[in-house]
């Protein structure tokens, strides 16, 4: 990834930049920005784009087995949207002076991160429900906040993407609700899937605020507007009501409602698992990267052909 610049920024420009952000101003590609702001954005936006692209794999795994034509079409449309989001965010990242090829290479080299949630396997049809509902649901909570980010191209991308993510979440919840109201086997499938995806989806918001190394700077520069824990709590409160509405339960014996704060409080999150997956030892890290590498290597001759043909036309 981009190294942390060691150059000192011009204090007056930095002050002007920070004042603009404090006044809720938007930063555009041609505006002056601290090198560190640029590198943090490149890191976040490219991770986001990579997540969309890698995220096509776990759901792509069930397109060929979707149990009705309607569900198959919805899932195809959803995975297609994710590819579109990836493309859109890569283009947004290019406004910061990096090119997509460079970013993709970082992913293929294992140097760039993507959302750890996609390192979990999809084991039943109900996982298509759980991913849409919980994973896209968590992403919406995060992205609604990012739609107010200080960097204009990212904020605008998030506004558009959030609209589609809302459709993704609805279709996921609809799958779960249908299963939960279906045959005993379907209901068991839904519950088992929720059991597997609940904790990893809470981990999607990242470490607790006190353990989050990037957060302070991201908040000061308006890239993030809310902390990991605030966002996670918002997601939990929203989701518990939805879990109850379809008569499923979350796998947390310590879950309790705090009357004073109005929050649902969960038991402890297993951060050892979180870091294990982030560091590459989740159930599917190697498979996901191998699939991306295979697609890239297997498609090299196609890209070369397109280039060669384009050159012949000049």
């Amino acid at each position: 990834m981009n190294p942390t610049p060691t150059v000192a920024e011009d204090p007056s420009r930095l002050a002007e930049f920070e004042a603009r952000i404090a006044a809720d101003g938007t930063i555009e590609p041609k505006d002056w920005m601290p090198a560190r702001y640029r590198s943090q954005l490149i890191r976040m936006m490219s991770q986001h784009a990579h997540s969309e692209v890698v995220g096509m794999l776990p759901e792509g795994n069930w397109i060929t087995r979707a149990p009705s034509l309607r569900r198959k079409m919805i899932l195809l449309a959803k995975v297609q949207d994710e590819g579109g989001h990836g493309l859109y965010i890569y283009c947004g990242t290019e406004t910061l002076g990096v090119d997509r090829q460079e970013l993709v290479q970082q992913l293929l080299d294992g140097k760039a991160k993507y959302s750890s949630i996609f390192n979990y396997p999809t084991l039943s049809w109900a996982d298509m429900g759980a991913i849409g509902w919980l994973v896209d649901g968590a992403a919406i909570v995060n992205q609604t906040m990012l739609a107010k980010a200080s960097y204009g191209p990212y904020a605008r991308a998030m506004v558009r993407i959030c609209k589609e993510e809302n459709f993704h979440k609805r279709q996921g919840y609809e799958i779960m609700a249908t299963l939960a109201n279906g045959t005993p086997a379907q209901k068991a499938m839904a519950q088992e899937s929720l059991n597997r995806w609940w904790w990893p989806s809470l981990m999607m918001f990242g470490p607790h605020d006190k353990d989050s190394s990037n957060s302070d700077e991201l908040m000061r520069w308006g890239i993030k507007r809310k902390s990991n824990d605030e966002l996670r709590q918002r997601f939990i409160n929203l989701t518990i009501a939805q879990v109850k509405a379809i008569n499923l339960t979350v796998p947390d014996p310590d879950l309790r409602y705090n009357e004073a704060t109005g929050d649902w409080e969960t038991g402890p999150i297993d951060w050892d698992e979180f870091w294990r997956v982030v560091k590459g030892n989740g159930p599917c890290n190697k498979e996901r990267l191998a699939a991306r590498r295979a697609a890239h290597a297997g498609g090299a001759w196609v890209r070369e052909a397109a280039l060669a043909h384009a050159e012949k036309q000049q």
Binding site: R65, P67, L69, R70, M73, L76, G83, W125, A308
Partner: protein, 253 residues
């Protein structure tokens, strides 16, 4: 449709199964395409084709009059009951096979939908009008890639030619009329597939020339799909496609 109509049912299965099976094969690329733009394009193609199949099989179920909907037809028929052309069920192969198949079948589809958009059956005419727009885009996409691959690098040229050679023996079946279709075609409900061949060949020749590829000559034309005699590949494809639905008979999704 008040009375069951076996010949029309069969004609709709031929139309719908081609799109369902080809759409399925296309969807296998999802997340694994050569570039992100093509991941998006192929997902879109698969979505169009399965969408067409959905409408055609829904209508087939209504015409059959036995209470089967599109999902019953897609998920609870055996391979021998499928009526797709063999070309559609062949494994997805490399990107050249995928593109060449979309091109060869897509040009046929455009001619077929164009003719069917003036079907005397209003439901067929409506589906055809929608599908025609989609298929025109599919042909444009596949045709452009045929030229890029054929007239790209040595490797892409070789792969594109191999793909055409592989698929060519399966093109003849597209234009072989089925005996139960003559009456429907005469009444303007369906269209005689053999009438498309000359125009199809004209478009193919034009693009193949621009792609610097050679049209194979004198190949034996395979057939069987329209009568339910398939390749060994279809059974495996359906095993995957139907597993969840068949594991939970009667369930709603």
């Amino acid at each position: 449709m008040s009375t069951p109509h076996p010949a029309l049912f069969e004609a709709l299965l031929r139309l719908g199964d081609d799109r369902l099976v080809l759409g399925h094969r296309t969807s296998e690329w999802c997340g694994h395409a050569p570039i992100l733009e093509e991941d998006i394009a192929l997902a879109n193609l698969a979505l169009d084709l399965i969408g067409q199949a959905n409408l055609l099989l829904e209508y087939a179920g209504a015409v059959e009059g036995a209470g089967r909907d599109q999902d019953a037809l897609a998920y609870f028929r055996e391979a021998i009951e499928f009526r797709n052309a063999l070309m559609c069920e062949l494994p997805k192969g490399d990107y050249a096979v995928t593109i060449a198949r979309h091109f060869l079948h897509g040009v046929f589809s455009v001619l077929q939908w164009d003719a069917l958009s003036s079907s005397t059956d209003a439901t067929i005419a409506g589906i055809a009008a929608k599908a025609l727009k989609e298929s025109r885009y599919h042909v444009r996409h596949a045709g452009e890639w045929m030229i890029r691959l054929g007239d790209g690098t040595d490797e892409s040229h070789r792969r594109a030619q191999d793909a055409v050679n592989l698929l060519w023996p399966f093109t003849g079946e597209l234009f072989m009329p089925c005996s139960d279709d003559a009456e429907l075609a005469a009444a303007g409900v369906t269209a005689d597939v053999s009438s498309f061949e000359a125009k199809w060949r004209e478009t193919i020749d034009d693009v193949m020339l621009r792609a610097t590829l050679t049209v194979p000559e004198g190949a034996w034309m395979q057939r069987g799909g329209r009568e339910g005699r398939h390749t060994e590949h279809l059974g495996h494809m359906l095993a995957e496609m139907q597993i969840v639905a068949r594991s939970h008979p009667g369930a709603q999704w």
